[in-house]
């Protein structure tokens, strides 16, 4: 998919060909259509042997029986990986996919603006972090803000909620747990960032060019994933290249959490007996192939051994991602999850715009989540859910 599909043929071309292995054809899909194509492919029985699947889709693919669990024989591929990422792929006690590359979200910040405000880096504890943002806002100049939290993206609120330790769903993931204290604390903190004028109440579509605004200093920090490193390197003016860095997310009591992201490789259920499929996945995960893949795409390798060999842990921009991944926590693994977080963000946006109080918003998210999970509860009652 996307960038990975563009780089894969080069990578395969460079690999040594195994005698009597079948030919490999790569079919690229755009990310925006991939999810639907996978489901339609399953409905039509036309999925290929191997696929790249976004980590957040694995629960769904496993629930409908589209993918085969990872056999014991290749579990060594999971040995030196990040725990939270492997945990994401473990559903009903079995691992369903081998993480291929990883990502997570953390804060990008303007070192020069934070320095002017008297901070070498953003503090990692919520109250200190917020005080630093107030300092930044004071020196940022009129009409500028400290932080960019696009109101149409759920990832930021989710990161704050994970940092607060919210479990998000309860009762075997059959009901929303958005009215529990941890989530309430996160929601109140999220709202306060807007109420105190630290973040502008806008959505990402209202900002024509986020890189320009970051360079201009409209905001001094924002949350994003590793793909932004390349964007910032290519889009910011040369003069601004030395004035940005990355840092882990803050949490209520020290370093915060994040959702582990990235993609995994799966073998689709119809091809579970194909030994070449698992063999090919093992070859794509060899440290050498992982390093070459990182060179081609900029994706962060899933295996720690590849991190060590590529010297990624020594790169000051990339190293915080490893720290953040150590503190990542797996999200609820239910097929309805993506829709639940979309609803969560719709309610959160209304809360920021003043239509709900924090408690009302939390209750509303619970109501919506419970409605979406109704079928899952029925499946749980029948003992059919994973």
């Amino acid at each position: 998919m996307g960038n990975e599909a563009a780089a894969l043929p080069t990578l395969i071309g460079e690999m040594e060909r195994v005698p009597d292995a079948p030919r490999i054809t790569v079919q690229p899909l755009p990310w925006s259509a991939a999810h639907q194509k996978l489901l339609t492919g399953f409905a039509g029985g036309s999925l290929p042997a191997i696929g790249q699947v976004g980590n957040s889709w694995i629960a769904e693919m496993a629930a409908i029986g589209a993918i085969a669990p990872v056999p014991r024989a290749v579990h060594n591929l999971l040995a030196d990986q990040f725990d939270a990422v492997v945990e994401t792929n473990r559903i009903g006690g079995r691992v369903w996919a081998v993480p291929w590359y990883v990502d997570t979200r953390l804060q990008y910040y303007r070192t020069d603006i934070f320095a002017r405000a008297g901070h070498a880096a953003p503090p990692l504890q919520w109250s200190a972090w917020k005080r630093a943002l107030h300092d930044v806002k004071r020196v940022a100049g009129d009409g500028n803000y400290a932080l960019f939290l696009p109101l149409n993206e759920f990832e930021q609120l989710l990161t704050i909620a994970l940092s607060a330790g919210a479990r998000l769903l309860r009762d075997e993931d059959g009901r929303g747990a958005f009215s529990e204290t941890e989530f309430l604390e996160a929601l109140a903190f999220y709202k306060s960032l807007f109420d105190e004028g630290l973040a502008p109440p806008v959505s990402a579509t209202q900002v024509a060019n986020i890189w320009n605004e970051f360079a201009r200093g409209w905001f001094a920090t924002f949350t994003s994933g590793p793909w932004t490193i390349g964007d910032l390197k290519s889009r910011l003016p040369a003069a601004a290249q030395d004035s940005w860095a990355t840092a882990p997310n803050p949490g209520p009591r020290g370093i915060g959490s994040a959702a582990p992201g990235g993609s995994s490789l799966v073998v689709f259920a119809d091809h579970r007996a194909n030994p070449h499929a698992w063999d090919f996945i093992a070859r794509l995960l060899a440290p050498q192939a992982q390093m070459r893949f990182h060179d081609l795409t900029g994706d962060l390798p899933a295996r720690r051994s590849a991190w060590r060999r590529a010297g990624l842990a020594a790169d000051p921009i990339v190293a915080p991602f490893a720290t953040q991944l150590e503190h990542a926590r797996a999200l609820p693994k239910v097929p309805e999850w993506e829709r639940i977080v979309s609803e969560m963000q719709i309610v959160a946006e209304r809360m920021v715009r003043g239509q709900f109080t924090v408690e009302q918003a939390a209750r509303e998210i619970d109501v919506r989540a419970d409605r979406l999970l109704e079928k899952r509860r029925w499946m749980l009652d029948k003992g059919r859910a994973l």
Binding site: S32, H35, Q36, L39, T40, F42, A43, E60, A63, I64, G65, A66, N152, S203, T205, Q206, A208, P335, R339, R371, K375, W378, M379, R384
Partner: protein
């Protein structure tokens, strides 16, 4: 005619129309009934994996749609498209038809081809071109506006401008087809009537109002029924140009149905949207027919 001949004729009639009827049954009636059936179930990805996970939910899909604000947003967007788009397209295609019908125009075949061309070009390709035309910073549309001193409009990025932008594109894309229908109708209007009216001293507008329009009234009705149905079913244009954004301002009913059905894979709920959309189009068309009958157009 003997009874046997008549029976033979009936049999021949059925035999002749059987292939068409079979196709309609198989590809139209059966799927329509299936989706009506689907709309009373909760068909979703669980049911896709194992059909025994399917449940009958009665009217629950409909009840949930009615309390879903995004459904109403999609409905109101679609109604806007119909309310503004239909008169716009009908007027535009009638003007174009009269232009290419007029006797003073030279190179008439060329004009007809040029005006019909948008309809036969691929929608996705033209949408890509229009995205350039509507670009905020270097688009031709904003350049032309700037000649009149009008400020740049963020056509596809602002929630208020996106709907007009899509409308302009849709009108440009579809008027050619209706133009051909109008042209055919205009050519049946006897020239003598118009000449008589002119000799009687009727101006150009009076001739249009009292001679041409009454003569082509059934065609106006046909075109407006077709356009209402097409406007209710807008999907590809917002899908390619804006993906329903910004801020869901270009989510049409059909787009909403697509998301319910194929993004979230709630086929039951998606089928319920389809049934409601069918009822809407049917309702509007019946109203149009009644108005036309009262006006004496048919």
């Amino acid at each position: 005619m003997s009874a046997k001949r008549r029976a033979d004729e009936v049999r021949a009639g059925w035999a002749m129309s059987a292939p068409a009827l079979a196709a309609i049954l198989l590809f139209f009636v059966a799927p329509a009934l299936a989706s009506l059936f689907l709309s009373f179930t909760d068909f979703d990805i669980y049911a896709l994996a194992d059909i025994s996970n399917l449940r009958f939910v009665g009217f629950e899909n409909y009840a949930r749609l009615i309390e879903n604000p995004l459904f109403w947003k999609a409905m109101s967007n679609s109604v806007l498209f119909v309310a503004i788009g239909t008169p716009l397209v009908v007027a535009l295609s009638l003007c174009a038809a009269m232009l290419v019908h007029s006797r003073w125009l030279s190179w008439r075949p060329l004009w007809r081809v040029a005006l019909f061309a948008p309809y036969v070009t691929t929608l996705v390709a033209t949408a890509v071109v229009w995205r350039y035309l509507l670009n905020t910073r270097y688009g031709l549309v904003n350049y032309l506006l700037s000649l009149f001193g009008a400020g740049p409009i963020d056509w596809l990025g602002s929630p208020t401008a996106s709907l007009p932008a899509i409308l302009i594109f849709v009108a440009w894309k579809t008027f050619g087809y209706n133009m051909i229908i109008f042209l055919a109708a205009l050519q049946t209007v006897p020239r003598e009537l118009e000449e008589a009216a002119r000799i009687d001293g009727a101006g150009r507008l009076a001739r249009l109002r009292h001679v041409t329009l009454p003569a082509i009234a059934p065609t106006v009705l046909l075109v407006s029924v077709l356009t209402v149905a097409a406007m209710f079913q807008l999907f590809t244009e917002p899908y390619v140009m804006t993906e329903g954004g910004p801020a869901q301002s270009t989510v049409t009913v059909l787009y909403f149905m697509y998301e319910e059905g194929f993004k979230w894979w709630n086929l039951g709920s998606g089928a319920a949207v389809a049934v409601l959309l069918f009822l809407c189009i049917l309702g509007v068309t019946l109203v149009q027919l009644r108005l036309a009958r009262r006006g004496g157009a048919i």
